[in-house]
Amino acid sequence: MFSVLSYGRLVARAVLGGLSQTDPRAGGGGGGDYGLVTAGCGFGKDFRKGLLKKGACYGDDACFVARHRSADVLGVADGVGGWRDYGVDPSQFSGTLMRTCERLVKEGRFVPSNPIGILTTSYCELLQNKVPLLGSSTACIVVLDRTSHRLHTANLGDSGFLVVRGGEVVHRSDEQQHYFNTPFQLSIAPPEAEGVVLSDSPDAADSTSFDVQLGDIILTATDGLFDNMPDYMILQELKKLKNSNYESIQQTARSIAEQAHELAYDPNYMSPFAQFACDNGLNVRGGKPDDITVLLSIVAEYTD
């Protein structure tokens, strides 16, 4: 049974040389199945580093990458840190949510065109656990349907994704916030706090579907990235991606995450987060220390 990462290598080698990111005719009309070559990197807020392992956690963030015959699926979840004050480990909820999504996908209990379904089913499964799970997190799920060449996404909260083609952002997710620094979130609250704790339904997630082409780059990340690194910086890094080789993707993911991590602790840097605060009357500057999770994928031809 191959791991996702080594599959990535096989696929990458098969298309090496035959791909151009800037050629709009590459793929799209290709009749074969598509797949995602994905690598990830992240940093927990307390300087815990890590290369992507399947279903890894970076601080209170969690993510997963899963493969099924019909689709490639990945997701990120940002655990809400406030639970720590009540003695609840915020990474338990996000981690379990992502691992459950991964299991769902591997067992085929999903429909590629319904990523909100993955979130809903996964959330319901959390409630079926004997262990009384508590906590909340955002969630962003991205599904590539192999045969239709369509990308289906579901986003609840302020994590999100970008799709880059020809050096430009062609699709992106919208942030969902109730108010400042309070994103939409899935949650399980203790019974005494129900009604007081923010708990959004999986149905509240935004969902989009669109065609993708061979060579399209998909970046899925938690707000630790987007709050510290504006688009142009991200695009600059992505330009350095020469091919759809797994190692290159991993290197790029890492450099993006590292850069965001550095900027987060720069007190003078005008981060997107600081900019937004200023636009809303708060006189602040500097990065935003946060957990950072970056999943970087390229659409490539899929061979079994």
Partner: protein
């Protein structure tokens, strides 16, 4: 599917090299029960297919296959059913699960990866039918690969169970495990099943199956050749007997005494005995011998022909157990209907658990032919369409009805509870496990309408909130409660426990798994007050740690305090 091709060489004589195939299960196709919710991945039987998720770790994990019950707790409840007479002592199976594999092989080994409280598997069978073949098989045979009495395993840790199986002369990709959980301290959990076998029929026995001395002593394997229907049906058939010279001294015995002696025979033995002489034939075909008819142990062989042969003797049958029988085409709707038309009039108890041949017509026949039916068990009959259940309404004498895992349509459990509270004033036991939308309103109706309730299972009912006072109300209005399950209700709190301590002193079994709001102090009060308490499940209750359990156990040694764990 995990495929490892290892060639196994013959030992002395020349024989063709035979590749061994090792497979995990492809699909779970049938089972009698599970702990989890029907569409869920948590604690459900479907987890038994595929590669292991947990093994070799031990613990109570969601990704394993868990059956609905364990130990003898359910036999000690008010709702426990009395056992059938004439159940053969070697039939101890309580649950089963059937799995398919990709390739048919001649099995050389079946391994079961158990990850929690191992030791429940007591029988393994193989079927000759290929569930994936497009054409229905000519003959379906089940052969026992391995069988043993339930025995206690003293550890709760994970193990790879590798029983020594018998060789069979047909290839199979359909394996059945039968389970007995009565000796377990807690729920058993299974992670995967591995089938080792040869693609081609072994020319010589490369591995002789051990001859177990127990096999030779007990008549353990029903029909040792296991060659199908004919054997059982032969015993049932009424062959014409010659008039013999005399009957030994049997005819000196009073009729009733011979009847009494025959009561101790198993059904196949009774039918064999019928073929020995005319006197015993008369006795063995006497309908009084068939007041209780338990056909569940013979599920692997029972078919329409068997029912036809038995018909004439079963006109007075009162308790009939056809659970697990008739699947894969063994019993037809027509055959079942015919049998009931002849034998249904005196029926008081009918067990039809996992009888997948049942359809709406069958329920119609039951409702017409069995007017005095008091006890009907349709658990896991998940092929019955919702409208089939309308026929049950005609059974006016029903006292016990089991609809576990059926497709009976219920929109609003509060309405059901309300009806029960209004119409079933004498109700003693009620199982509402996993009733998704019952609220405090339904509970209120139940509590006020059914004061005689002794047993109430509200496990995994997420819409019940302690803050509404519903559990306190239950405790105050149901003083006869012996069993109360509030499994995974996260709102159960100290107040509720204290109300139970005050009001439900007859309590014997309590399950409060998964609440964070109950402290050791209130449990102590409960244990002091409820002297008959024998089961207390406090698994995953955050305030009740191991130390608390040890302390309580030390002070209340007669109580089994259960605390499950994941690691």
């Amino acid at each position: 599917m995990m495929n490892s091709h290892r060639t196994i060489e013959s030992n002395t004589r020349t024989s063709p090299l035979n590749a061994e195939v090792v497979q995990y299960a492809k699909e779970v196709v049938d089972f009698s029960s599970h702990y989890g919710s029907e569409n869920s991945m948590s604690y459900t039987m479907w987890n038994l297919a595929g590669v292991p998720n947990v093994f070799p770790s031990s613990g109570d994990f969601t990704q394993t296959a868990v059956f609905r019950t364990y130990g003898t707790w359910w036999d000690q409840c008010p709702s426990a059913s009395l056992p059938f007479k004439r159940t053969p002592p070697n039939f101890q199976s309580q649950d089963y699960v059937e799995l398919t594999f990709e390739q048919q092989v001649y099995p050389t080994a079946v391994h079961v990866l158990e990850t929690y409280h191992p030791g429940a598997v007591i029988r393994i069978l193989a079927c000759s039918a290929n569930p994936y073949s497009p054409s229905p098989p000519a003959e379906v045979r089940w052969e026992i690969l391995w069988s043993e009495r339930p025995s206690k395993v003293n550890a709760s840790q994970a193990r790879q169970f590798k029983p020594c199986i018998k060789q069979i002369n047909f290839p199979t990709n359909l394996i059945r495990l039968e389970i007995n959980s009565s000796l377990l301290d807690y729920y058993t959990e299974l992670d995967a099943v591995v089938l080792h076998g040869m693609k081609d029929k072994p020319v010589l026995s490369l591995k002789t199956s051990l001859i177990d001395m127990n096999d030779l002593e007990d008549d353990d394997y029903e029909e040792k050749d296991g060659c199908g229907m004919d054997n059982l049906n032969q015993k049932f058939s009424s062959t014409a007997l010659r008039e013999g010279p005399n009957n030994g001294y049997f005819d000196k015995l009073p009729y009733e005494l011979i009847q009494l002696i025959l009561n101790h025979l198993t059904l196949p033995d009774l039918c064999r005995l019928a073929q020995t002489c005319k006197l015993l034939h008369q006795h063995c075909c006497d309908p009084l011998q068939y007041i209780h008819l338990n056909l569940q142990p013979y599920w692997a062989k029972l078919n329409d022909t068997s029912l036809e042969f038995l018909q004439a003797r079963c006109t007075l049958v009162q308790w009939l157990n056809l659970s697990w029988t008739g699947n894969r085409g063994f019993i037809s709707v027509a055959g079942f209907s015919r049998f009931l038309k002849v034998c249904g009039s005196e029926l008081v108890r009918l067990e039809l658990s996992c009888s997948h041949f049942l359809n709406e017509t069958c329920l119609e026949v039951i409702s017409e032919m069995c007017p005095d039916l008091q006890d009907l068990n349709l658990s896991s009959c998940d092929k019955l369409p919702p409208q089939a259940f309308n026929h049950i309404a005609k059974l006016c004498s029903l006292k016990r009805l089991v609809l576990y895992r059926t497709k009976v349509e219920i929109e609003d459990y509060d309405v059901i509870a309300s009806m029960i509270g209004a119409k079933c004033k004498k109700l003693r036991t009620l199982d509402l496990w996993r009733c998704k939308n019952i609220t405090e309103n339904g509970i209120a109706e139940l509590a006020s309408g059914c004061p005689l309730l002794e047993e109430l299972d509200l496990g995994w009912c997420p819409t019940l909130q302690s803050s509404t006072g519903c559990f306190a109300r239950l405790a105050r209005q149901l003083p006869n409660l012996q069993k109360l399950f509030l499994t995974a209700n996260r709102s159960v709190c100290d107040t509720d426990i204290e109300e139970l301590a005050c009001n439900c002193i007859k309590l014997r079994q309590l399950d409060i798994l998964g609440t964070r709001m109950v402290s050791p102090a209130s449990l102590r009060k409960l244990l002091e007050s409820c002297k008959d308490l024998s089961l207390l499940d406090v698994s995953f209750c955050s305030q009740i740690d191991n130390r608390a359990v040890l302390e309580l156990s030390a002070n209340f040694p007669k109580v089994f305090i259960k605390r499950s764990f994941t690691q």
